[in-house]
C-alpha cells in the first residue's frame, strides 16, 4: 500500500503549521484527491484532514450585504440554501449542474476551487505532462480532444479547469479568503487560478501551506439576482463536465443593460471572464445583436488546440448569446428540473 502520514487538524493554526511541510496536502471530501492518489497521479506524503476544522462550513449573510461561504460548506448545502438560491441563483444553478447528487453531498466549495484538470494525459499518470511532471512535455498537444482549451493555453499545457461553480463566482466578483502564516489575505477568484504559461505545475496563487477558509460574494453581486443564468452544454444530461458553459447576468435599468457579467467554463485553465464583452453590453438595450457582439468580443483571440476542439469557439459564442438571452428574460422563480441544461428553460 502507499504509505502516507495522516493527521487531523484540530484548528486552522494547526492545519497551517502541518500544511507547510513538504509533500503535504489538505484533505476535505477527497472526491478528487483520493481518486488521483489511487490512480498514482499525485502521491502526497502527508495528508492533513481538515474536515473537522470548526467554523468553516457556515453560509452567512453579512450586514454589509455580502455573503460568506465557509470553505468546508458542502456543494449541496450551498445549492439548497434559500438565500443563495434567491440572491445568487446562477451560483445555485451551476452547483446543481455539477457532478452527481452523491458527489455534491460530499464535495466542499474550497475543494471545488482546488480540483485538478480532467485532461486525460494528466490523469493517466504515464504520459508526458508538464503539470504532473514539470519539463516532461505535453502529450495532449498533438492529440487535443474536446475537453482541451481554446483560450489562454500555452505550448506547455492545453488543459482546462473543470469547475462549474467557479464560473458564476468569477462573473460575480467573488473573492477567496486565504489563511497563511502571515495572516489572512483575500484574492479575487478571477486571479486565484493561474494560466499555464511556462509553469503549468503552478495552478493557483496559493503558497505552500496556505489554506482557503472562505469565499465571499460582494454585496454588488446580489443586484444581478433578477437576471442571472448558468448554461451548461454537455454530452449527457448529468454527471458530465461542460463542453462549454457560461454564466451570464445583467442589471436592467429602464430597458437598458446597466451592467453585465459574462464568464465561461470549459474554455481555459481558469474560469474565463471577459470584462470587455461585459462592457460592450453596458448601456445597450438587450438584443440579439448586442449579445452577438459581446460573444464575438468574448471569443476574441480564441485558438483551437486541435481539430477535435475547434467547434468550441463557435459553440461558446452561441452559448454566450443563449445565456445572455435567458438572463435578460429573467431568472425563473424556481430553478428548472434540469438545472443549467438548454432543455431546462422554465
Amino acid at each position: 500500500m502507499i504509505l502516507f502520514d495522516y493527521t487531523r487538524a484540530a484548528t486552522v493554526a494547526d492545519a497551517l503549521a502541518t500544511g507547510r511541510q513538504p509533500g503535504a496536502a489538505f484533505l476535505a471530501a477527497g472526491t478528487n484527491l483520493v481518486d488521483l492518489m489511487k490512480g498514482g497521479v499525485t502521491n502526497p506524503e502527508r495528508i492533513i484532514d481538515i474536515t473537522r476544522l470548526p467554523g468553516l462550513s457556515g453560509i452567512e449573510a453579512k450586514p454589509d450585504g455580502s455573503l460568506r461561504i465557509g470553505a468546508l460548506a458542502r456543494n449541496s448545502d450551498v445549492a439548497d440554501d434559500p438565500h443563495v438560491a434567491k440572491t445568487y441563483p446562477m451560483v445555485a444553478e451551476a452547483l446543481l449542474a455539477g457532478a452527481s447528487a452523491q458527489l455534491r453531498n460530499a464535495a466542499t466549495v474550497g475543494g471545488n476551487l482546488m480540483q485538478r484538470t480532467r485532461c486525460q494525459y494528466f490523469t493517466d499518470a504515464v504520459s508526458p505532462c508538464n503539470k504532473r511532471q514539470p519539463g516532461s512535455g505535453c502529450a495532449a498537444l498533438g492529440h487535443a480532444t474536446r475537453i482541451h482549451a481554446v483560450q489562454g493555453w500555452s505550448e506547455q499545457c492545453i488543459a482546462t479547469h473543470p469547475s462549474d461553480f467557479c464560473v458564476p463566482l468569477a462573473a460575480l466578483d467573488a473573492s477567496v479568503e486565504i489563511e497563511g502564516q502571515g495572516g489572512t489575505r483575500s484574492v479575487k477568484l478571477t486571479e486565484f487560478h493561474l494560466l499555464p504559461g511556462d509553469h503549468p505545475e503552478r495552478e493557483t496563487v496559493l503558497e505552500p501551506g496556505e489554506l482557503i477558509t472562505a469565499l465571499t460574494l460582494p454585496a454588488e453581486a446580489a443586484r444581478f439576482a433578477g437576471n442571472a443564468r448558468y448554461l451548461k452544454v454537455r454530452d449527457r444530461t448529468s454527471y458530465a463536465f461542460a463542453v462549454v458553459s457560461a454564466a451570464a447576468a445583467m442589471i436592467l435599468d429602464g430597458g437598458k443593460i446597466g451592467q453585465a457579467r459574462l464568464a465561461f467554463g470549459g474554455l481555459a485553465l481558469k474560469p474565463w471572464r471577459v470584462t470587455e464583452a461585459e462592457a460592450s453590453l453596458a448601456g445597450k438595450a438587450p438584443s440579439p445583436e448586442a449579445y452577438a457582439e459581446a460573444a464575438r468580443i468574448a471569443l476574441d483571440g480564441a485558438k483551437p488546440t486541435g481539430e477535435a476542439n475547434a467547434f468550441k469557439i463557435e459553440l461558446a459564442r452561441r452559448v454566450a448569446v443563449r445565456a445572455l438571452t435567458l438572463a435578460a428574460a429573467g431568472t425563473p422563480a424556481r430553478l428548472p428540473a434540469l438545472p443549467a441544461s438548454p432543455f431546462g428553460i422554465v
Binding site: 480532467r118 486525460q120 452544454v233 454530452d235 449527457r236 444530461t237 448529468s238 454527471y239 463542453v243
Partner: protein, 746 residues
C-alpha cells in the same frame, strides 16, 4: 399465424408478471457475487498492465515489488506456472487467445504483464505500481485506416463474410433512385457493472472458482485444457452476474491468471480487475465503417441492397463484427450482397457484445433506408412495409412466425406516427427546439443451444428443478422457475429451483438471446419426464382415480394429476408416490436445435422502434423525448421481466446512437476514456418516457415452449430510429456514430 400451438402449461406461472425472486437479496446487498467471497487465507492479486500497445516488456522491478510490505509473490513470465496447453492454441471451437504471461510480448494496451499477489489489496496494488515496467515499443496500428485490408474467413461465430443473392450492379443500374452512404460506428466496451472477478482455490488438482460466467461448461472446458485437469474437477459458482453482455461468455485472461496465482502460491487468490483494466483483455464491439448502396424503383421496391463492412480484429486473433448479417434477413430486395473486410490492429480482440452484428449493422441500414426513402418522397414506415420480407431473403425460407406488421402498426399507433411530415426541420416545440421522429426495424435471430436439466417430485408433494443456468440480470432465477413450476404442476412455493453452478446439468451459454429458450425447454423436458413417469404410475394403478385414463389423459397442476375428460377425478402427487412406495421420481430433459425445423424455417424475433428527439437548433444538444418499441418474440414467460429487457435494450440503443465511443490516442494506442466518468453511457436524466409493447406471437416451430429471445433485439432498430429522428429534426445526417452535439452545430 394460422396454427395454434399445443398448450404446454399445466399451471399458472408462465405468463405472470412476477417480480424478481432475487430482487430483495440484491437490494439488501445479500446476493453474493463472485468478489464477495473470501475463503480463509485468501491472498489478493493485482494486475500490472501494459502502458504500451505494441512491443515487449524489457524489465520489471520485481525486487522492488517483493520488498514492499505484504507482497507475497510477483508472477511474471519467468515464474508463472506452466500451462498444459499454449493459451494461443485454438484446438477447441469457441476458444479465444488470452494473455496469461506466456511471454514478454505486448499486443495491446492494458494487457496483463505481471500479477502481484499480496496479503492485502492495497499491498498488491502498490506492488504492481512498483514494478515500473520498461518497454521496447513499436508503432501501434490504431484505427480502421492503420492496417492492411483483407477478407476474413468467417465473421461473428462462423458466418460467411460474403453473401450474394442476385446481381446488385444490375439492380442499381435499373433503379429509379439510388443512394450511397458510408457510416461509421466506434469501438465500444461492454462495461458490465461487475468486473471479471475470480476467487480461485486449488485442492490438489481440483480447482474451485467463484467467477461470473455466461457459460459454465465453456469455462470448465477452457480451464481444464489450460491446466491439464478434468472438466469435472473444476467447480464454478456463478449464481449472479453483474452484467455480462457477451464479455463473460468465455473466461478472460485475468480470470485464468487468478487460477495460476492460486497455483503458484498454494493459497486461494482473489483477483478483481479495475475498470480501466477491463478495456483490453475482456473483448469489445469492434469498430465498423459500413458503405451501403441502395437502389429502388419508382414504387419504392428495393432493386439492390449492397452492404460493405470494414471492421477490425486484433493482431493475434479473430473476431469480426458481423455487421452485414442483418441485411440478409431484414428486407426484401431484388438483389442483395454483403461483404465484410477487415484490418488487424494493436488492440485486444473484439468479442460478441450485446446484439453483435445486428446492433452496428442495423444503425447503418436503417439510416440508409431513410436517406433513400426521402429521395423517393416516401414515408419511411411505408417504405419499410413496401419492402417487407415475406420470406427470409437469401434462404427463401418461410419465417416460423413474424408479427412484424403488427409491431409496425401498433408501434406507429401508440407513437402517433401518422401525419409525420416527410421533410426534415419542419417542427418546433413551444420552446423553439427542433423536433423530429424516426423509425427503425428491430430483429434478432431466435437461437437455441444444447442444454440439459433435471427435475424431481418427492413424496411430500414438493419438487426440485436443477440446471446450470445463469442470471446476468435478465431474471433467469424467476423466469426459469416459472417454467419449472408449470412443468411440474407445482406452485412456485412448492418448488426448489437451483441454478448457477457447474455441478448442475449443463445449460449451455447464456448468450445469443437463447438462454430462456435453451434452459427453459430443457427444464420443460425434464419436468415432462417426471410427470410422464408419475402419470404412468397413476393410470396403471387400479387404486387410483386416474386408472385407465391413458398417458395423455391427464394434466398436472396444483400438485395433482387430473383427468382431462373429467376434472372431478384427480389425485395428489403425494398420494400417487406414497401408494407406490416411492420416495421420489426423477427426470431428465434436454433441449437443442431441431435440425429439420431449422432447415425449413427462418426463425427471428422482430420489432419496430419509434423515436422522437428534440434538438437545440443553436447548441446541437440532443434529447430523446419519447421512445416506443413494439416487439414480437414468441411466447412471453414473464411480461414484467421482458419489458425490462426491452427497456434495457432500447436504452442501450440510445447509448449507441448518442453516447458510446472508446477513444484511443492513435500515437500510443492508450485509452483516453477507460472509465465510467468519461466513457459515456446515458444517465437517468437522459432517458425519456418509454413504452414497450408486447405483440402476441405464437410459434409452434421455434421450440416446444414457443419462446424467442428478448435480450438483444431492443438495441437493434433503436439506434437507427434515433439517428433518423435527429436527421428529421435538423436536416443534418450524421453518419459518424455517436451523434454528438459538435456534429449538429450546422
Amino acid at each position: 399465424m394460422t396454427s395454434t400451438i399445443e398448450p404446454v402449461r399445466h399451471g399458472s406461472s408462465i405468463g405472470q408478471p412476477l417480480t424478481r425472486r432475487d430482487g430483495p437479496l440484491k437490494v439488501k446487498g445479500q446476493a453474493r457475487f463472485a468478489a464477495d467471497n473470501l475463503p480463509p487465507g485468501t491472498l489478493h492479486a493485482a494486475l500490472c498492465v501494459s502502458k504500451i500497445a505494441r512491443g515487449r516488456v524489457k524489465s520489471l522491478d520485481v525486487a522492488a515489488a517483493e520488498a514492499h510490505p505484504g507482497v507475497v509473490k510477483v508472477m511474471t513470465p519467468e515464474n508463472a506456472p506452466k500451462l498444459s496447453k499454449d493459451p494461443d492454441l485454438k484446438d477447441v471451437p469457441f476458444t479465444f487467445r488470452i494473455d496469461v504471461l506466456q511471454n514478454d510480448k505486448v499486443r495491446y494496451a492494458n494487457q496483463p504483464i505481471a500479477v502481484v499477489i499480496a496479503e492485502s489489496l492495497e499491498a498488491a496494488t502498490e506492488g504492481a505500481r512498483l514494478l515500473a515496467p520498461t518497454y521496447e515499443e513499436e508503432t501501434p496500428r490504431i484505427g480502421l485506416d492503420a492496417g492492411e485490408v483483407f477478407t476474413p474467413d468467417a465473421v461473428g461465430v462462423g458466418a460467411p463474410p460474403e453473401q450474394v443473392d442476385g446481381d446488385v450492379e444490375a439492380g442499381l443500374a435499373s433503379a429509379a433512385k439510388t443512394f450511397t452512404g458510408t457510416y461509421e460506428t466506434p469501438a465500444q466496451y461492454h462495461n458490465a457493472m461487475e468486473p471479471h472477478a475470480a476467487v480461485a482455490s486449488w485442492d490438489g488438482d481440483k480447482l474451485h472458482l467463484f467467477m461470473p460466467t455466461q457459460g459454465l461448461a465453456i469455462a470448465q472446458g477452457r480451464l481444464a485444457g489450460l491446466f491439464g485437469i478434468k472438466p469435472t474437477d473444476i467447480h464454478i459458482d456463478s449464481p449472479y452476474l453483474g452484467g455480462g453482455f457477451g464479455s463473460k461468455g468465455v473466461p478472460a485472461g485475468p480470470q485464468v491468471l487468478a487460477c495460476m496465482a492460486a497455483r503458484l502460491t498454494g493459497k486461494p487468490v482473489k483477483l478483481v480487475p479495475t475498470r480501466s483494466q477491463m478495456y483490453g483483455p475482456m473483448g469489445h464491439r469492434g469498430p465498423t465503417r459500413q458503405t451501403l448502396r441502395l437502389g429502388a424503383d419508382e414504387a419504392g421496391k428495393l432493386m439492390a441492397l449492397d452492404h460493405h463492412i470494414l471492421t477490425a480484429s486484433s493482431s493475434f486473433d479473430d473476431f469480426f463484427e458481423p455487421a452485414g448479417r442483418v441485411t440478409t434477413t431484414l428486407y426484401a430486395s431484388k438483389s442483395t450482397a454483403i461483404r465484410h473486410e477487415a484490418v488487424r490492429l494493436d488492440t485486444g480482440t473484439p468479442l460478441f457484445m450485446r446484439g453483435p452484428g445486428e446492433a452496428s449493422g442495423s444503425v447503418a441500414i436503417e439510416s440508409a433506408l431513410d436517406e433513400l426513402a426521402f429521395d423517393l418522397n416516401m414515408d419511411p414506415l411505408e417504405f419499410r412495409l413496401a419492402n417487407y420480407a415475406e420470406v427470409e431473403p437469401f434462404s427463401g425460407k418461410p419465417f416460423s412466425s413474424k408479427a412484424l406488421r403488427e409491431c409496425y402498426a401498433q408501434g406507429a399507433k401508440a407513437f402517433g406516427w401518422a401525419g409525420r411530415p416527410l421533410k426534415p426541420r419542419q417542427t418546433r416545440d413551444k420552446d423553439g427546439f427542433l423536433v423530429g421522429t424516426g423509425v427503425g426495424t428491430a430483429t434478432f435471430p431466435a437461437l437455441i443451444f444444447e442444454g440439459m436439466a433435471r427435475a424431481e417430485i418427492r413424496a411430500d408433494g414438493s419438487g426440485t428443478v436443477e440446471i446450470g443456468a445463469l442470471d446476468m440480470g435478465q431474471g433467469a432465477w424467476t423466469a426459469l422457475a416459472q417454467i419449472a413450476a408449470d412443468g411440474l404442476g407445482l406452485g412456485m412455493e412448492e418448488l426448489t429451483f437451483n441454478m448457477g453452478s457447474s455441478d448442475l446439468p449443463n445449460a449451455g451459454i447464456a448468450g445469443g438471446s437463447g438462454h430462456t429458450a435453451t434452459a427453459g425447454n430443457a427444464i420443460h423436458a425434464a419436468a415432462q419426464d417426471v410427470i410422464g413417469q408419475l402419470t404412468e404410475l397413476a393410470v396403471n394403478d387400479q387404486a387410483s382415480p386416474l386408472f385407465g385414463a391413458g398417458n395423455a389423459g391427464v394434466t398436472a397442476a396444483g400438485g395433482r394429476l387430473t383427468r382431462r375428460d373429467d376434472p372431478s377425478r384427480s389425485e395428489t402427487f403425494s398420494a400417487i408416490l406414497n401408494r407406490a412406495g416411492r420416495a421420489k421420481i426423477e427426470g431428465k430433459g434436454k433441449a437443442g436445435a431441431d435440425a429439420a425445423a431449422q432447415k425449413s424455417y427462418a426463425m427471428h424475433a422482430h420489432g419496430a422502434v419509434f423515436a422522437e428527439v428534440k434538438v437545440d437548433p443553436d447548441l446541437g444538444q440532443v434529447r430523446v423525448s419519447r421512445l416506443v418499441g413494439a416487439f414480437a418474440a414468441g411466447r412471453i414467460i414473464n411480461p414484467h421481466l421482458v419489458r425490462s429487457q426491452y427497456y434495457g435494450g432500447m436504452i442501450w440503443g440510445l447509448s449507441f446512437a448518442l453516447h458510446e465511443k472508446a477513444e484511443m490516442d492513435p500515437r500510443t494506442g492508450r485509452f483516453l476514456n477507460d472509465n465510467l466518468a468519461e466513457y459515456h453511457v446515458p444517465v437517468n436524466a437522459d432517458i425519456p418516457a418509454m413504452e414497450a409493447i408486447l405483440i402476441p406471437e405464437e410459434d409452434s416451430v421455434v421450440n416446444t415452449l414457443g419462446v424467442k429471445g428478448v435480450g438483444e433485439i431492443g438495441i437493434t432498430g433503436t439506434a437507427g430510429a434515433i439517428a433518423n429522428a435527429v436527421w428529421h429534426a435538423t436536416g443534418i445526417r450524421v453518419r459518424d456514430i455517436p451523434i454528438t452535439l459538435d456534429k449538429l452545430l450546422g
